[in-house]
Amino acid sequence: MTYINMIIESPLLRCIAVLILAPTIGTLLSGFDRKFTARLQGRVGPSFWQPVYDILKLFGKQQILVHRTQLAYAILHLFFMMLTLVLLVLGQDLLMILFCQAFSALCLVIASMSVRSPYSWIGSQRKILQMLAYEPTLILLILAVYLQNNSFLGFKVLERDTPLIYSMPLMFISLLFVIAIEFEKSPFDVASSHHAHQEIVKGTTLEFSGPFLGLIEVAHAYEMAMFFGLMVAFWHTSIIMGIVLALIGFILVLIMDNICARLTSWWMVRFMWTIPLTLSLANLIWLWR
């Protein structure tokens, strides 16, 4: 226990620990996703560690690159995703965290815009629409946190006595839709899908292969861990209740993934700007003082 206390108290050790733990949690979550989806469809499904094998295999493959710009932006995508997570763990400004996350997503857009494949272009245009769809909800979420703590700083949340879920239940529901977009789940998986291929083949990650695709997969694992952490933060007073809440949210997203078909990108924007945004605004009404 002394080691754990030492890690929690030192900011540097905490950053290092989270940078190692986050991709592990992210890949385990997607392993759970694939097993759960397979069981829902009546299949045996792959091993629980399958996403780990996939990523390790990708790093052992031949390096084929379209051009260097593509690689530079793939690395920036990973770097800014790591920075987002570090800022979150250090309890920094939530707005800054949102900007870092948005820039990380933009790097992926630029990387897939820099090649000549039309499928990659369509994928990145849809990724921009996805960002347009979820960013207002995230900004309202941060605004709601500000209204309760009178501060944009992340660590002020941890100093509260009551969990956020008591005062922001509707915000949590709209966050689930944001998470469905970020995890590339149906009906929102318009830009790039994890399951099989789609009408635009693989969308944003189409022109990446081998270790460079591995970089993007690692960044995705960081992203999954970050959003899982956000769900845990809704019940920060008890870590067990937080994890239970986050798992329930994750399973709800997976069930929605399995019962829905992929819909169009503009349907996604219309939906996100009506139902989740209205839920968030309704939640803001009783927080406004």
């Binding site: 694939r34 397979a38 469809q41 009546g42 299949r43 045996v44 499904g45 792959p46 091993s47 399958q50 094998y53 996939d54 390790l56 295999k57 790093f59 052992g60 493959k61 031949q62 390096q63 084929i64 099989a196 291929h197 789609q198 083949v201 693989k202 990650t205 189409l206 022109e207 990446f208 292969s209 081998g210 695709l213």
Partner: protein
């Protein structure tokens, strides 16, 4: 690293002049009954992400360049499965004027799965065999394919007589 290659073989499927019989049977491998995903098989639509190339149908003079291009885009280590008799020898279409033959005329083949179409069990067996071959390969394994002859088709040049009346008409004016 090579031991993980065997654990997550991503398959890309290329229909090379096939009658679609093998393609339907191959997609049946992904259904809950056969569940190819328990071996880590993922059906990707993009050769740049794939490890195993599954080819159905015979090669003809038009699509041999496409097949070679798809093969060259797969990063090493990679394996090729020739699915069905058409991909092995040309099968039913072997005597057609445009058919070159089996896909081994164009790219190196690791596993032949016979049948018209093969049963899904045989197809899964073929993929598992390809995975075993894939494990022995590394990313330095030579995968260069032979250059194919490029046939340029041009319209014939017009004979001199057709040009002559035109000039005659102009002179009449």
């Amino acid at each position: 690293m090579s031991k993980f290659t065997g654990k997550s073989p991503w398959v890309v499927h290329f229909n090379c002049n096939s009658c679609n019989g093998c393609d339907i049977e191959f997609l049946a491998c992904l259904t809950p009954l056969y569940d190819a995903e328990r071996f880590g098989v993922l059906h990707v639509g993009n050769p740049k992400h794939a490890d195993i190339l599954v080819v159905t149908g015979s090669v003809n003079k038009k699509n041999m360049h496409v097949l070679k291009n798809v093969y060259d885009q797969i990063p090493a280590p990679k394996a090729v499965v020739a699915m069905g008799v058409c991909a092995a020898t040309g099968g039913l279409f072997a005597d057609c004027y445009n058919v070159v033959g089996g896909i081994d005329k164009v790219i190196p083949v690791d596993v032949h799965v016979p049948g018209c179409p093969p049963k899904p069990e045989a197809m899964l067996d073929g993929i598992v065999k390809a995975v075993e071959i894939l494990k022995k390969k590394t990313k330095e394994t030579e995968t260069v394919t032979e250059e194919l002859p490029v046939v340029i088709v041009k319209p014939k040049e017009l004979p001199a007589e057709t040009a002559a009346p035109a000039t005659a008409k102009e002179s009449e004016k």
